[in-house]
């Protein structure tokens, strides 16, 4: 290989010269953006996984309604895979203290529980609590503060559960799997599994849930999860971390999508710079190639030599970028802890860095290889006649390679073929429009050049003298500015939308199981404390048939679909469309005329059950049959922290079937101590505190906003690299022309003014076209990618040209400043 590759020391020296340095900068910026985003989202997902695991008290739960032994095989399998396990048995039973009895959820467990998160206990109900993982001893129990209040027991009291007596040793203030769902409404008693037999409550016909908890390294848990999905019986229910904390997942996914979009645009922007730098780098090496060929180098040798040089530049750039990316995301993670209660984000994995390096090489190959291939076509006779140029590649080759590379980058970032194709079409159309607009504008300038003054003639008219390069520069500046404007617009909208999703007064407490007769008293209780409560009637119903076909005959294949079809649903009715719902099909019923029974479903419900507008849905509501026509389909924002339902009925149909009310309220710290009194007055109402979850999501939004700002900074940097590359693209010619002009008597000021005018014109033109393109793309991105409402931003047409004028004009002037300092004779001599 010595005859093919340059020596390492020479390679190292070559890398830092001129255009390879620009190429390295382009790769470094792209890599920095990509690694910051992927490392950060990787850690964020890890943190969400941990957080979700805390909600489950494990990484996954397998629940069986049959008996404890049915879980033995799964437990054995988990232990063989070096996963930690624990068992729970839970059932509902009446618990007695003296002559008082209360319905409670009895949870019996053994050492190890909880596998994730911690228990919190207190000595008095609603008193200060502390974290502990010590379980009650034999003959002992921890009781929920609500149960303690209702039964009037305190630490030291005796409880009777079935045939056994247990001593209350702690008040169970919190446990990780208390559940953010609404299913478990009875307060809990925690006891040892060994005391269960003595209670005599679990006979063969008893209704208990047996749960296996499993936790461990993700690398071990994931294969076990896959094994379980294949081997578990239909009667067993599997809950994994992905299914918990829907709100967190939704917010994080949205953040990850935007961050990936921003990173991809940075990479595409860097690709423009890379392509221009590679082209100029190659054009400057043509003499060297001709010489090498004279001395006996074949085309293969030339190809290997120069592609290895470019590959080395890509690796160095990727290394620098990875380092910057790693530091950036560490800074981001350290700025503040994303999750309250979680000390820090889990350690980043190396995968994003490996992918980043692969991506850098793909980018370099896609955009940098065509000029290198052209180099191999330089005729050796160029050593004797410098005007001999390489036969250019057919335009289709670099264009096809560039498009293919773009597709690969897009696909790796979004992992969605449909989205990738539509994005590629948009990009290709925009580039095509730029080329056409560029040609048109350059022709227009050519007509204008004759009557103007000297700087105009030698500056702006230069654009018309170099039509191909001017169009290329216009496309580069234009694409760069489009991306920056686009990111600026979408970023602002996105952050605003995110913050709107979790406003400061979002409900932080849910009240579940309010009996219809208690509704007004509950409202009065909070009204007295200046708290507004939003009530939703709760009706339990089962879907029986669609258009007369029983559900058993149209059972969906997916688990979720089956759950919709088989289980009893919690549904509600209301007059107005909830604020965080959006009608995507059909119409919401009129507020005044109610008419026949109508139902509105969430998109998930429609998709899983393959429903269509006008379908007749037949429900079983407490034994009665209720028919309703499907009137509309709603897109529901589940991360909005408001009570939302898959099914909403028009008012007047189910009014007599309300089983209970669900309420949401924002309780400030001053009101919270009153919850003990609330519990005493409304003992059957469950108060669910989601303040912690809200804080977590707010933290997530804030950190994602920080990440967006970081990535935006990288995109700006990529824009600067494009600027540098584009200015360098015509630097040699401009230097030569400037020297000639000065030799013939033009002043330095005239030459510089000409250059400034040239770049300013380019900048304004690129800015105008970029503003139009950014407006069009932002509509597309908002609608199809981020699912956000779109508003036309008129200011784009002001910002675009001004940014172009100042950015491109200023940078162009700076870039050519030195040109005026070099004595003309030296430039002409060197040429």
């Amino acid at each position: 290989m010595t005859r093919v590759l340059p020596s390492l020391s020479r390679l190292w020296r070559t890398l830092w010269r001129g255009d390879l340095a620009v190429l390295i900068a382009a790769i470094a910026v792209a890599m920095a953006a990509s690694t910051t985003v992927s490392l950060f989202t990787n850690r964020l997902h890890g943190a969400i996984r941990n957080e979700s695991a805390t909600v489950l008290a494990a990484d996954l739960r397998l629940e069986s309604g049959r008996n404890a032994e049915s879980l033995d095989a799964a437990e054995q399998q988990a232990q063989q895979r070096q996963l930690r396990t624990a068992r729970l048995t839970s059932f509902t039973s009446v618990v007695h203290a003296g002559d008082q009895g209360q319905l409670a959820t009895v949870i019996a467990t053994e050492a190890g529980y909880p596998l994730r998160g911690t228990l919190r206990t207190a000595t008095i109900p609603y008193g200060p609590s502390h974290a502990t993982n010590v379980l009650p001893g034999l003959g002992e129990a921890y009781v929920d503060p609500r149960l303690a209040s209702r039964l009037g027991v305190s630490v030291g009291s005796l409880l009777r559960i079935g045939a056994t007596q247990l001593r209350v040793v702690e008040i169970l203030a919190d446990r990780p799997d208390r559940g953010s769902g609404y299913a478990e409404v009875a307060p809990a008693v925690l006891m040892r599994g060994a005391d269960l037999a003595a209670s005599g409550l679990l006979g063969p016909a008893s209704r208990a849930t047996y749960t296996l908890l499993v936790a461990g390294e993700p690398a071990r848990v994931d294969p076990f999860l896959a094994w379980l999905k294949l081997h578990k019986s239909a009667a067993e229910r599997l809950v994994g971390v992905g299914e918990a904390s829907a709100q967190l997942g939704s917010a994080a996914d949205r953040a990850a999508r935007f961050l990936n979009l921003a990173a991809v645009t940075t990479m595409l922007l860097a690709s423009i710079a890379l392509a221009m730098a590679a082209r100029r780098h190659a054009s400057q090496r043509r003499d060297e190639v001709a010489l090498l060929k004279c001395l006996g180098a074949t085309r293969r040798v030339v190809l290997l030599r120069f592609s290895s040089e470019m590959g080395a530049a890509a690796l160095v750039g990727a290394g620098i970028g990875a380092l910057i990316g790693y530091c950036a995301q560490s800074g981001l993670a350290a700025l503040a802890h994303v999750f309250t209660g979680v000390a820090e984000l889990p350690a980043p994995s190396a995968t994003p860095i490996i992918w980043g390096v692969v991506m850098s090489l793909v980018m370099t190959a896609g955009f940098g290889l065509p000029p290198v291939i052209e180099l191999t076509r330089v005729p050796p006779a160029r050593v004797l006649r410098e005007d001999l140029a390489a036969r250019p590649l057919p335009l289709l080759v670099p264009a096809a390679l560039a498009v293919a590379t773009m597709l690969v980058i897009l696909y790796l970032a979004v992992r969605d073929a449909r989205l990738m194709v539509s994005a590629a079409i948009v990009l290709s159309v925009i580039t095509g429009v730029y080329v056409l607009a560029g040609i048109g504008l350059v022709r227009l300038l050519a007509r204008l050049r004759s009557d103007a003054g000297t700087p105009w003639r030698f500056g702006v008219a230069a654009l018309a003298r170099r039509p191909a390069q001017s169009v290329a520069q216009l496309v580069a500046f234009g694409l760069g500015m489009t991306i920056l404007l686009l990111l600026g617009v979408v970023r602002g909208d996105l952050l605003e939308e995110w913050r709107r999703a979790v406003p400061a007064d979002a409900p932080n407490h849910f009240l579940i199981n309010i009996a219809p007769q208690e509704r007004d008293s509950v409202e009065d209780f909070f009204k007295a404390r200046q708290v507004v409560v939003e009530f939703a009637p709760w009706v339990r119903a089962r879907l029986r048939a669609v258009n007369g076909t029983p559900m058993a005959q149209r059972m969906p294949k997916s688990d979720r679909g089956r759950a919709f079809a088989e289980r009893e649903q919690n549904l509600s009715f209301r007059r107005t469309l909830p604020a965080d719902n959006q009608i995507v099909e059909g119409h919401w019923w009129p507020v005044s005329g109610l008419g026949a029974a109508q139902v509105s479903v969430a998109t998930e419900f429609r998709d899983e059950l393959d429903l269509h507008l006008g379908d007749r849905l037949e429900f079983d509501v407490a034994g009665e049959s209720v028919d309703a026509t499907l009137a509309s389909v709603r897109k529901v924002r589940w991360d909005g922290f408001r009570p939302n339902f898959f099914l909403l009925f028009s008012p007047g149909v189910l009014d007599g079937n309300v089983s209970s009310y669900l309420a949401a309220a924002h309780l400030e710290a001053r009101v919270r101590p009153d919850l003990a009194e609330f519990n005493r007055r409304f003992p059957t109402v469950t108060v669910l505190d989601i303040d912690g979850l809200l804080t977590t999501v707010r933290g997530l939004v804030d950190r994602a906003a920080d990440a967006v700002t970081y990535v935006f900074a990288f995109t700006l940097l990529a824009g600067l690299v494009v600027l540098a590359a584009a200015i360098r693209a015509t630097a040699d010619e401009r230097r030569y022309e400037g020297a000639l002009l000065r030799a013939f008597g033009a002043s330095r000021r005239q030459v510089l003014l000409g250059a400034a005018l040239e770049f300013a014109t380019l900048g304004v033109l690129a800015g105008l076209v970029a503003a139009t393109a950014a407006a069009a793309i932002s509509a597309f991105v908002a609608a199809y990618w981020l699912g956000l409402p779109w508003h036309l931003q008129g200011l784009l047409w002001l910002f675009g040209p001004i940014a172009g004028l100042l950015g491109v004009g200023g940078a162009g002037l700076l870039g050519t400043w030195r040109m005026g300092l070099i004595p003309p004779f030296r430039v002409l001599q060197a040429s």
């Binding site: 005859r3 010489l291 060929k293 001395l295 006996g296 180098a297 074949t298 005729p379 050593v383 006649r385």
Partner: protein, 226 residues
């Protein structure tokens, strides 16, 4: 034995005014060890003839044979392989690689030919042209005369059988030109290399064994078949 031979070689190019014949039916034989000057006025086709003989370009008709083997019929890579380690060049505009040091420039043909002791031989070649002290200087840090001496070292370092020189003193002042010319002929003599020199300087041509005069693409007499 002829080291290089052209048989009825013609080069035509297409120009806006139609087809243009640059080299017209040139046949010549160059024997091992001799030095041949190609002279002629500007535009007579001297550089094109050199390019054709060196395999940097191919004739429209006729052929070139190197060491009695077909040369011009080979493809570009084939001709490059045939040149590797066998042919050296000196150009009017030096053609040093600006990013390389003097030593790296000299080492280049050895590396391409896969020679193991390249660094030592490169230093010896630089010593032979009196530039050992400039080994670590980049091309642009050297004067014109020094650059051409580095180019001479590069041309001779691979001990080529054949050396092509295109106006080797054309870009140099008189003193530097004479110094380079002396060095060129000294090295040529001691290495026993065959030299084909394109020049319009009579004094330089006179130092060669034979002179071929090219006028409007044709050899002026029959000396080509020498």
């Amino acid at each position: 034995m002829p080291v290089l031979e052209s048989r009825r070689m013609t080069k035509e190019v297409t120009s806006p005014d139609g087809r243009l014949t640059i080299i017209d039916d040139v046949s010549l034989v160059i024997r091992a060890g001799e030095s041949v000057a190609i002279v002629g006025p500007s535009g007579s086709g001297k550089s094109t003839l050199l390019a054709l003989l060196a395999g940097l370009d191919v004739p429209t008709r006729g052929e070139v044979r190197l060491e009695d083997r077909p040369f011009s019929v080979l493809d570009e890579d084939g001709r490059a392989r045939a040149r590797a380690g066998r042919v050296g060049f000196v150009f009017q505009s030096f053609h040093l690689v600006p990013s390389m040091t003097a030593e790296e420039n000299v080492r280049l043909p050895l590396e391409l030919a896969g020679v193991v002791e390249a660094p030592e031989r490169a230093m010896a070649a630089l010593a032979a042209v009196g530039l050992l002290g400039r080994a670590r200087h980049r091309a642009r840090q050297l004067s014109g005369g020094e650059q051409q001496r580095v180019a001479l070292a590069r041309a001779f370092v691979g001990r080529p059988a054949l050396l092509f020189a295109d106006e080797p003193t054309g870009n140099l002042d008189t003193a530097s030109g004479e110094q380079v010319a002396d060095l060129l002929f000294d090295l040529n003599r001691s290495a026993g290399t065959t030299l084909i020199l394109v020049t319009h300087e009579q004094s330089l041509a006179a130092r060669c064994d034979r002179t071929l005069a090219l006028i409007a693409g044709r050899l002026a007499d029959d000396s080509g078949c020498g």
